[in-house]
Symmetry: C2
Subunit: 391 residues, 2 copies
């Protein structure tokens, strides 16, 4: 069961393919607080620009989303189209326009096919309740191969609250928001400022720590709505339940971000890269992302080759301070590099590469900071998917 | 005809494959001045570390090179092996060890197979003169599909000098030196400090402006030897021929770097990315490299899809100051983006993508600086080559 007081609908507008569900609506019975984090790309899609203006109010009732078209690099027409859809949805739901948000994902540079989408909006508002959160996740998919939802229960005083999340994303995934949309809904009442803190912290340790191809998108958005339907006193920073909500939310976004990495375009493996004993946190992250984004590391992992030399090379251009001669590298529990040179365990490490999950631990012996980055390998299939994307 | 007074030899040590020529020797009849530029990777192979120590003397007679093994991440053994080979070569040639340089390229993390290489050194010194510069280029190849040599003639007063270059490289290619070795030889006498200036300038506008996969190697080296065999007065900064030598050298390194991009692992296209009217030079370079290194841009180019939205997205995360709404993008002469939005010329642009060469011009309308970056597309073949590299 999802959080109380949220209703869903999906519809087929035929944006990219006929019949496929490509629009969805999320609606809250009561006014919810809302917080959001958005792409750091300087080129922001029209719906992201619109969200950024609205989010300051901190109030929401509805989110409308489409896949198949990102409405990015579409100029003033893009903004007009976003506003028009928001206005139609709001009118039909009888709520203020300021309480409706829109998100888009798909091809960049083509205006939204409004002639197809406007009739689909009628279907969304007429059929509110005809879909589950899982159906919403399906309607958001682009190159994703499976829908991504996670739910968690949490005790708030004597009441039980629910936090549910849906997300999409399989390519153009890099730190600081990817080609990724994520909606998190809860029936717990949470004060708007507090919601903002909770969301930012959990995004930083989940969606901002995954990379598939190092490309950062124009559309990434995480929105979280809290509608208070369980009737608790709104949660604040000083509330006793704050820490447990943060922990539950962190678990939820961690699970969602791992689903994205598992579904990485054409990947055969989900890979955790743990940097240990780095000088500081930012160097640990830089080292993790340099290794995770190296095409040569990714292709070696795909080839089941524990080619740790490519990991050493990536660390070498990560811009961190370290001593190559003190560096150890492990594939799962197998130590392949000891003090910067071969530990003669490549055959044993090759066995670890046969599985669909792998953990690479890099110990820099330089300080006490650590960082975990999640990534995938890369196969011919990634090239095919992205070479054929628009055709 | 190559530059006077240089002699070459190649031999098969059987480092990676039997029979294939995998070692080469370059020898100058007379003492030459030498200058070098090296990888900026913090993880430097043993031969690079050794070169860095020697290069200060500015004097050289010989370069010995091997392919198939990079002698990187091999610890103190790697340094010992490099010194031992240098010492053997020098003894057999009857020159001081300080005048012999060594370079290696190939797999990282495995010690040099000295038992195979030592006998091959005898063959190299015994058979000096048995090979051409083109044979040297062949012996340096790893995943390269063709040998890379370029020669230029230049008038120095009443004499004719020759500058010849050989290089190798097809992957792990990124700015500031790639998995790339390059030797440039000339029979013009050039003062050592001047040689250093000439080389640095030409590398900055050639090898430092190409990228294939964004990975930077542990072994990249460019060495230039000037032996003065044409008998000119050594060229200095103030010499009348300085500018024409710089120009000729720039042309030569430009040609060699274009050969590397043409031979990019698994690529189907050589692509020039010209950033125009940027705020300043460093932003122009950053923008060019962000676009050139974007996997999504590369896969679109491979798919013959003028998906300029991915170029806009890459500019958006390049960390430059620009106004997306003022940006124009051209595929050859076809303007696909005007003021940040579609110019409805995608079909025409798709025709430009059918050829093996493409020029993408990005006009930021922000200032007056420009930069040219050379790159390639990426295909399934790149993945296969690099997944199977060690197996």
């Amino acid at each position: 069961m999802g959080p109380k007081g949220f209703h869903y609908a999906t519809a087929s507008a035929g944006i990219k393919a006929p019949r496929r569900k490509d629009m969805a609506l999320i609606f809250s019975e009561t006014e919810a607080t809302i917080a959001g984090t958005f792409t750091t790309n300087a080129v922001k899609a029209a719906p992201v620009q619109t969200c950024l203006k609205k989010i300051k109010s901190g109030k929401a009732r509805a989110i409308v989303v489409n896949s198949g078209n990102a409405n990015a690099c579409t100029g003033t027409q893009g903004t007009k189209d976003t506003r028009h859809i928001i206005s139609l949805v709001s009118q039909q739901l009888g709520i203020p326009s300021s309480h409706t948000y829109m998100c888009s994902t798909g091809v960049i540079g083509t205006p939204l096919p409004m002639i197809k989408m406007v009739p689909a909006i009628n279907k969304l508002t007429e059929n509110l309740g005809n879909a589950s959160l899982r159906n919403v996740a399906k309607a958001m998919m682009t190159t994703d191969t499976f829908p991504k939802t996670v739910s968690k229960k949490i005790r708030i005083g004597k009441k039980i609250g629910t936090i549910s999340g849906v997300c999409k994303g399989a390519g153009m995934i890099a730190p600081h928001m990817a080609t990724m949309l994520c909606f998190i809904l809860t029936d717990i009442a949470i004060d708007q400022k507090t919601l903002n803190v909770l969301l930012r912290r959990s995004v930083e340790q989940s969606f901002n720590r995954i990379t598939i191809d190092g490309d950062r998108s124009t559309n990434d958005t995480v929105l979280m709505m809290a509608n208070g339907m369980i009737g608790n006193v709104p949660v604040k920073r000083t509330s006793p339940s704050f820490d447990s909500i943060q922990k539950t939310l962190n678990d939820l976004t961690d699970s969602l971000s791992r689903l994205i990495v598992t579904d990485a375009e054409g990947a055969t493996k989900a890979v955790e890269i743990l940097i240990r004993n780095s000088k500081n946190k930012s160097e640990a992250k830089a080292a993790g992302f340099a290794v995770a984004n190296s095409l040569l590391v990714k292709t070696a992992l795909y080839g089941k080759d524990p080619n740790w030399g490519r990991i050493m090379a990536a660390l070498g251009y990560a811009g961190i301070t370290f001593n190559p001669e003190r560096t150890d590298i492990y594939f799962n529990a197998v130590k392949v590099v000891a003090g910067g040179i071969s530990n003669h365990r490549d055959r044993l490490a090759a066995k670890a590469l046969a599985a669909q999950k792998l953990k690479i631990t890099i110990d820099l012996h330089r300080g006490s900071a650590s960082a975990l980055v999640l990534t995938s390998d890369i196969s011919e299939q990634y090239i095919r998917i992205n070479a054929d994307y628009r055709t």
